[in-house]
């Protein structure tokens, strides 16, 4: 029978079909753990006298709470320290592999999995973290779960689940220079809304998606959750195989050939049907930024701050009203006039080596705007090493940016990297919710190159603005 990519991966993981409205029992190939959502799961195991079923399909790292400076000193915040120490103790007690702060493979879970070659096409990946959708870029079925489910997977390596619906997000044409994967996904979310993907697995397809690197694909799948979707997927192709090949845990030799042969079958059949479809034309896209307090409140950078009256829907209108008040923005102001205090370059959306390269390529030879603080936080310790090997660190340093240690950092401000009340940030992360980056902080979501141009000019800008003013 004809099937979509998501349906094929699902079918290949059904341990037991549910009868009479019962959910299917789905096998989980890989579980990633971090310090925030795992402690109660381990505690639950202990309470019931259970042990993890497959520690060889489980890996833990520390990311949400970790400081990005002075990492050799004890963590000052008590809650953060307790969570991290609890994870370390649990990992030791149950024999789970862990990459702790200071280790070369520590970092944001969603950067660490792919970089070790653990994330592969056609597997199922879960983590107690909504941005697990990132791994879908490889053609994996990857989604975030709650703490009880983390415990469930630890104990059984499966999850009872009802099948998701499927939505095709077709991106036709090719991106113009200076327009990136981040702009595609911000445009998709602006189009379908933050609830548009609810109940669906999104499959990104079309020419523009095929042309993206793995980093770009991960950026897109990462933000599927911001459209309300459970997961996002992209069919694996040569770009995917090339990326996985040779990584520490990638299949080798004959295994590799066998794996690739299977991976090549992982595409939506021509005669398969999706439950829904949206189309975006990449040729028409410009750099996108958000002006409001949810990721769906985005516009092309050349636009102006909208007025609540621009929205027909009553809910959208009142959301806009509240957002404008929180963001302290006046309708009609060109987005490019918005002044920014902080540029945050990092997160599981855009904290990979290619993102840092793109960011650095715009900074190189330019000077930072004096009023802007620039924080560059690599997605993993390994990314930090890579960046230093190719001299990016010097570019950041010369520019006047702060070059930090790996972690989630200002993406959610669980560590000391936070915005002050009223401060405004251009951020390469994925959520612009009220107070997300610090109490009272205001966030504009942008791509790495827009973040870089903004750091130069002090207002939201695209790289092309630098050329016209040069």
């Amino acid at each position: 029978m004809a099937g979509t990519l998501a349906e094929k991966v699902w079918a290949d993981h059904v341990v037991r079909r549910g009868e009479n409205g019962e959910p299917d029992l789905l096998y989980i190939d890989l579980q990633l753990l971090h310090e925030v959502t795992s402690p109660q799961a381990f505690d639950g195991l202990r309470q019931e006298g259970r042990t993890p079923r497959r520690i060889d399909q489980t890996i833990a790292t520390e990311d949400h709470n970790t400081p990005t400076i002075d990492i050799d000193k004890p963590i000052a915040d008590i809650t953060s320290r307790t969570q991290i120490e609890t994870l370390r103790r649990n990992a030791e007690e149950f024999g789970v592999r862990i990459h702790s702060l200071g280790d070369k493979d520590q970092g944001i879970v969603h950067v660490v999995g792919p970089q070790l070659g653990l994330t592969m096409p056609g597997i199922t990946v879960v983590c107690g973290d909504s941005h697990t959708s990132t791994h879908g870029a490889f053609g994996a079925l990857a989604f975030g779960i709650g703490t009880s489910e983390v415990e469930h997977v630890l104990a059984t390596q499966t999850l009872p689940l009802t099948p998701f619906k499927t939505m095709a997000v077709t991106v036709t044409g090719s991106l113009k220079p200076g327009v990136t994967a981040k702009d595609i996904i911000l445009a998709v979310i602006a189009k379908i809304g933050t609830g548009g993907g609810a109940g669906y697995v999104l499959e990104y397809r079309g020419e523009a998606i095929r042309e993206l690197s793995m980093e770009g694909r991960m950026t897109i799948c990462n933000m599927s959750i911001e459209a309300g979707a459970r997961a996002g997927m992209i069919a694996p192709d040569e770009t995917t195989f090339e990326y996985v090949k040779g990584r520490p845990h990638a299949p080798q030799g004959e295994d590799w050939d066998e794996a690739v042969a299977y991976w090549k079958t992982l595409r939506t059949d021509d005669d398969a049907t999706f439950d829904a479809e949206v189309v975006i034309d990449a040729d028409q896209l410009e750099p996108f930024v958000t002006w409001g307090t949810n990721p769906g409140q985005g516009l092309p950078l050349s636009a102006a701050v909208p007025a609540p009256e621009d929205f027909v829907d009553q809910t959208d209108r009142s959301a806009a009203e509240r957002a404008l008040e929180y963001m302290d923005l006046v309708p009609g102001t060109p987005l490019k006039d918005i002044k920014v205090d902080t540029v945050f370059m990092g997160s599981c959306t855009n904290g990979r080596i290619e993102d840092l390269r793109a960011f650095a390529s715009v900074l190189e030879g330019r000077t930072k705007h004096p009023d802007v603080r620039v924080l560059v936080v690599p997605g993993s310790a390994r990314v930090r090493l890579q960046a230093e090997q190719v001299g990016l660190e010097k570019v950041f340093f010369d520019f006047g940016a702060e070059w930090r240690q790996a972690g989630c950092s200002m993406c959610l401000g669980m560590n000391p990297d936070q915005l002050a009340p009223g401060e405004c940030a251009a951020s390469t992360s994925n959520r612009n919710f009220e107070g997300r980056q610090g109490k009272g902080g205001r966030t504009h979501l942008v791509s790495p190159v827009v973040a870089a141009a903004t750091a130069v000019r002090g207002t939201l800008s695209s790289p092309s603005d630098l050329l016209t003013n040069a």
């Binding site: 109660q40 259970r50 592999r97 597997i123 469930h152 845990h249």
Partner: protein
């Protein structure tokens, strides 16, 4: 999870509607790293600031059957709300309507969430208030609540009822299919991702 057939304990009349999970347990308790010991957080604001609050009255303090107004457990999805009720000693919550996620979480943790009509809830409140410390029996098998001489019927879906009566949490239920899981594992290709033995870019040859 302990099997639940019937339970008898002191009934606690909570004359409030829309008790959201923030009221059941405030956000500060979410920073904890354990799954037990949340009893001190239960209804913390009310227990701290309101001497009249029902659980502050000695006759109800050891209650184990909560009788609440409509829309119990709304708001944030935090499972801690159920943990707090359970850790305090509650075995059942009766209400006219529960928030969907709360009801799901309750079922996972062995807490019976029974639905009664508003009239019946009112009657239960009256019985419990007239005679503080009255014991209530929740009979899951027959879906009945007995208080004093009165008997009421409550609703709970078949699947949850069955699971609670068998004492099966989701994990125990899944483990009943362990053979299927092992059979599935036996067929998995050898090249599927393995986190152990540890390999990194540095250990690679």
């Amino acid at each position: 999870m302990e099997a639940f057939t019937t339970h008898t304990g002191i009934g606690v009349p909570l004359r409030r509607s829309n008790v959201d999970t923030d009221q059941i347990i405030p956000a500060v308790y979410l920073k904890r790293v354990t799954k037990t010991g949340f009893d001190d957080g239960l209804f913390n604001a009310w227990r701290t600031n309101d001497p009249e609050f029902v659980l502050n009255q000695p006759a109800y303090a050891k209650g184990s059957v909560l009788v609440a107004g409509p829309d119990f457990g709304t708001g944030s999805s935090r499972e801690h709300a159920v943990w707090a009720l359970r850790d305090y000693g509650f075995k059942a919550v009766l209400s006219t309507r529960f928030a969907e996620i709360f009801r799901g979480n309750a079922g996972k943790q062995g807490l019976v969430a029974g639905i009664l009509s508003q009239d019946d809830i009112e009657q239960l409140w009256k019985i419990l208030e007239e005679n503080p410390g009255t014991e209530v029996t929740v009979d899951l098998e027959n879906r009945q609540v007995h208080a004093g001489d009165a008997t009421f019927r409550f609703e709970i879906d078949d699947y949850t009822r069955w699971r609670l009566m068998e004492g099966l949490d989701d994990i125990a239920l899944t483990l009943r299919h362990e053979e299927d899981i092992s059979a599935f594992e036996a067929k998995r290709p050898s090249w599927m991702p393995k986190t152990l033995p540890v390999r990194t870019a540095d250990t690679q040859v």
